[in-house]
């Protein structure tokens, strides 16, 4: 039990010495992406080999460092040397790496990057210099395009520490902010600092966090509640998952500081059911923090107490909406209510409540430690700080990136993301999840922040960024999102329940080749109605994907209803695939990939698709090395 600030400092010091001790320290990324790629076997193999060789290495699992496609990732910290990250590791390579390390053989050919200092641990800067021993060939993190432009505040520690061991969080200076707040900062000063920092809600709403805390502090009623929204439901977004899995204490520390500021003694962490590892790691972090006296009763020996309980979602996207989330915590269906009375005054159980997103909470300790002017100097005029984005889809490098607000879409997609996969043509980027819209190439120079994308008809939202190429049908994308939303609608208000369903039916007709121009006009009308008449954010923003595609890609709608063709070659009813005989090199790849075996051909015999059997799946087009498959 840590009962004072002095004890905390001593513990942090001890933890840091242990972390950077004379032992070689290896970490294997065992976040969800890592595990899906087989990192558990890599961890076991490294652990076994180190034990077999009697090497006394510290081997443990770490979280996710954000470069998901390169998993399983392993990082090695040899005393006195730069930290090195290895990518695409296997159990065999893991074994060889351990054997090699004993001989100071670093296998630079497997390395992704090296760090001169643990500069990504925002609270701690520690230089690690020394003989490079063959590591000179490994690029530094400043030279790796995926990481070069990033500033990892919310993602600090992710992939660097073992989330199952509170001591590693302490080693990075964790809980210093909480100690500072409890002993030297009155609540008014904390709220003032958060307001001046310009921190806005990272879940997508962008509401000023300081203002939210202030209204909750001033509200009447007791007890007050502090909630964390871990119901990251946007398909394509997994930023919060990464923080909850890889650095759970950052969220707890942030919530505790918030609770102190608004005068709350209890709270809930609401995590969606589809994130079992996040639930596990948070549960463990809560237990460990309570054992150490950093959560629960009499924190750090003061008379401030704050208890947090975990609540799981049950598979409803709408529960990401604040009032629906609160209803869910109370044991009700997640039906939002109109917010004439703000949740800061009457929220969960009818009491004053502060609800913030995972990423918002993760930023709080850093703002306290570094001071609000440091934070306010990052980002754009009205959007301060950084934002975590998940870049997925048809882009070369997929994963999580955290950059200062105000960076252009183009830079994120092309400089960091590496451009379009297969060097195909960029068509659109979908931002903000199902509440957002699709932006075409002409909008690529827009800076990404809370306000600029909204002006263009999309929104930054929670940070999901889905890149699409010329083989994506924008009408089908609209249909897809609308289908998702009509299933997830809670059903309470007519506009959303009936309207989004009608939108989906119209889009379904259009993609099946049964639509008309009148349908497109009707679609526009229904969209506007739903937008203007829904109670909550789900309904209000449900038309965004459709409206943005009607604005920027109207010619595709015309092609579907007038020409009865799908230009991208996606909608089966409006697509015919034909192999161009002049381009075909008879390699046979298409024939082998066809799930219904409808391609005739042989070596040196041009291939041909049997249209009567073709199911228009597009596999042949995907695998053809010479782009011989075209839409007729």
């Amino acid at each position: 039990m840590i009962k004072s600030v002095q004890e905390l400092v001593a513990r942090q010091q001890a933890a840091r010495e242990n972390f950077y001790s004379k032992k070689v320290r290896l970490g294997v990324g065992v976040g969800t992406c890592g595990l899906a790629n087989g990192s558990r076997e890599v961890l076991d193999s490294i652990r076994d080999e180190a034990a077999k060789q009697g090497l006394g290495y510290a081997v443990r699992g770490t979280g996710c460092v954000g470069f998901c496609q390169a998993e399983p990732m392993v990082d090695v910290l040899v005393p006195g040397l730069p930290r090195v990250f290895y990518h695409d590791m296997t159990p065999e390579k893991g074994r060889d790496l351990v054997k090699g390390l004993a001989q100071r053989e670093f296998h630079p050919e497997w390395a992704l990057m090296r760090l001169g200092a643990d500069c990504l641990l925002v609270e701690t800067e520690r230089r690690l210099v020394g003989e490079l021993n063959g590591l000179a060939k490994v690029p530094t993190i400043e030279e790796v395009p995926f990481y070069r432009r990033q500033l990892r505040i919310a993602l600090r520690n992710c992939g660097f520490i073992d989330p199952e061991d509170i001591n590693e969080y302490l080693a990075t200076g964790g809980y210093t902010a909480l100690a500072k707040v409890l002993t030297t900062m009155p609540p008014e000063e904390i709220i003032d600092g958060i307001e001046k920092s310009g921190l806005r809600g990272r879940g997508g709403g962008g509401f000023p966090t300081g203002k939210k805390w202030r209204s909750c502090r001033e509200a009447h009623g007791s007890p007050k509640y502090v909630l964390c929204n871990g119901d990251e439901g946007d398909p394509g977004a997994f930023m919060d998952r990464s923080v909850m899995e890889s650095n759970p204490h950052a969220v707890l520390e942030g919530m505790t500081i918030g609770a102190y500021a608004i005068g709350s003694d209890r709270g809930y962490l609401y995590v969606r059911l589809e994130y079992p590892l996040a639930v596990e790691n948070l549960a463990l972090a809560i237990r460990q923090a309570e054992q150490e006296g950093l959560l629960g009763k009499n924190i750090l020996g003061t008379d401030f107490s704050f208890t947090v309980r975990l609540s799981r979602g049950a598979g409803a996207f709408v529960c990401g909406e604040s009032t629906a989330l609160m209803a869910s915590i109370e044991g009700f269906p997640g039906e939002p209510r109109a917010k004439h009375i703000h949740t800061a005054e009457k929220g969960v159980f009818g009491k004053p409540t502060t609800l913030n997103n995972v990423e918002t909470w993760a930023n709080v300790p850093v703002i306290i430690n570094k001071g609000w002017p440091w934070f306010a100097a990052i980002g754009s005029e009205k959007s301060k700080g950084t934002k975590v984005f998940s870049i997925v889809g048809k882009v070369k490098k997929t994963g999580l990136v955290e950059v200062p607000m105000g960076m252009a879409l183009r830079e994120i997609i092309f400089d960091i993301g590496g451009g379009i996969a297969g060097d195909r043509k960029f068509k659109a980027v979908q931002t903000g999840g199902p509440s957002g819209g699709c932006l075409p190439e002409s909008q690529l120079d827009l800076p990404v922040d809370f306000d600029r994308l909204t002006e263009a008809g999309s929104m930054m939202g929670s940070g999901g960024m889905i890149v699409m190429d010329d083989r994506t049908c924008m009408v089908e994308v609209a249909r897809y999102f609308t289908n998702f939303l009509q299933k997830e609608s809670c059903g309470k208000c007519t506009a959303c329940r009936e309207g989004v369903r009608r939108m989906y039916e119209l889009l379904e007709r259009i993609t099946r080749g049964q639509g008309t121009l009148a349908d497109v006009d009707l679609l526009q009308e229904v969209c506007e109605y739903v937008r203007d008449n829904s109670i909550c954010g789900l309904g209000k923003s449900a038309p965004n994907p459709t409206l943005s595609t009607l604005v920027h890609f109207r010619d595709e709608y015309r092609a579907h209803v007038v020409d009865h063709k799908c230009p991208a070659g996606v909608c089966p009813a409006l697509t015919t695939f034909v192999i161009d005989k002049d381009t075909c090199i008879a390699c046979g790849k298409c024939r082998k990939s066809c799930p219904v075996e409808c391609i005739r051909g042989a070596k040196k015999v041009k291939h041909e698709i049997d249209q009567s059997k073709c199911i228009k799946c597009g596999s042949c087009r995907e695998v053809c090395p010479v782009d011989a498959v075209a839409t007729a």
């Binding site: 595990l35 998901c68 398909p235 609540s311 799981r312 049950a314 598979g315 889809g393 799930p595 597009g618």
Partner: protein
């Protein structure tokens, strides 16, 4: 569906869950989740028991159980297969993956195979988007799935073995050997609509 006779039904599991949550009404959702884990689905007697013990109207418990997508009021197979249809997976053609799983198992979403081995569901997003398209069997996550890998991935559970992550090599050889039989006979790759006429 097996008989769920109130007299012989084993309520010990649901009673234990309710005790764990101190019989508090607000934990209804977590109670239903843990109960579903214990019974693999939510049979009607269990819902009635929860309502009775928590002093809630059955209609309220039913409301919650039918609102949230993760609850199943129909019996579920021993293994739960979920195909992700989140945006990233959708763009990487999860629809075709789902079609292949349907074909291979002979069932649609929300249904259970006749031998009670598998239940198929789609899920909106599992958060592993960089590895799209993704499919899970129970707790195991299979990245970068393709229709060709489906059969292999199902081999272990079909043989009563533990689900592994190594079985992601495409079963190309088997499909090649599976040449279309003489006309009149249906092959495994027959168009979906033929199955619909025979099935549920």
């Amino acid at each position: 569906m097996p008989a769920t006779d109130m007299e012989t039904f084993d309520f010990s599991k649901v009673d234990a869950v309710i005790e764990k949550y101190n019989t508090e009404k607000s934990w209804l959702i977590m109670i239903l989740q843990d109960t579903q884990t214990a019974y693999n689905w939510l049979p009607q007697p269990v819902l009635e028991r929860v309502a009775e013990r928590l002093a809630l109207p059955l209609s309220h418990v039913y409301n919650v159980a039918t609102f949230y997508a993760s609850f199943s009021l129909k019996e579920r197979g021993r293994h739960l297969i979920r195909v992700c249809d989140g945006t990233a997976c959708h763009l990487r053609r999860s629809t075709w993956l789902l079609d292949e799983v349907r074909r291979e198992l002979g069932i649609s979403e929300g249904e259970m195979t006749a031998d009670r081995m598998f239940t198929l569901e789609t899920v909106a997003c599992l958060g592993a988007c960089a590895l799209a398209p993704v499919m899970t069997i129970d707790a195991k996550c299979f990245p970068r799935m393709t229709p060709e890998k489906v059969k292999n991935v199902l081999t272990a559970p079909r043989q009563g073995k533990e689900v592994g992550v190594k079985e992601t090599e495409p079963a190309r050889k088997e499909i090649k050997a599976d040449k279309p039989k003489a006309s009149g006979a249906r092959t495994k790759l027959a168009p979906k609509k033929r199955r619909r006429t025979g099935g549920k």
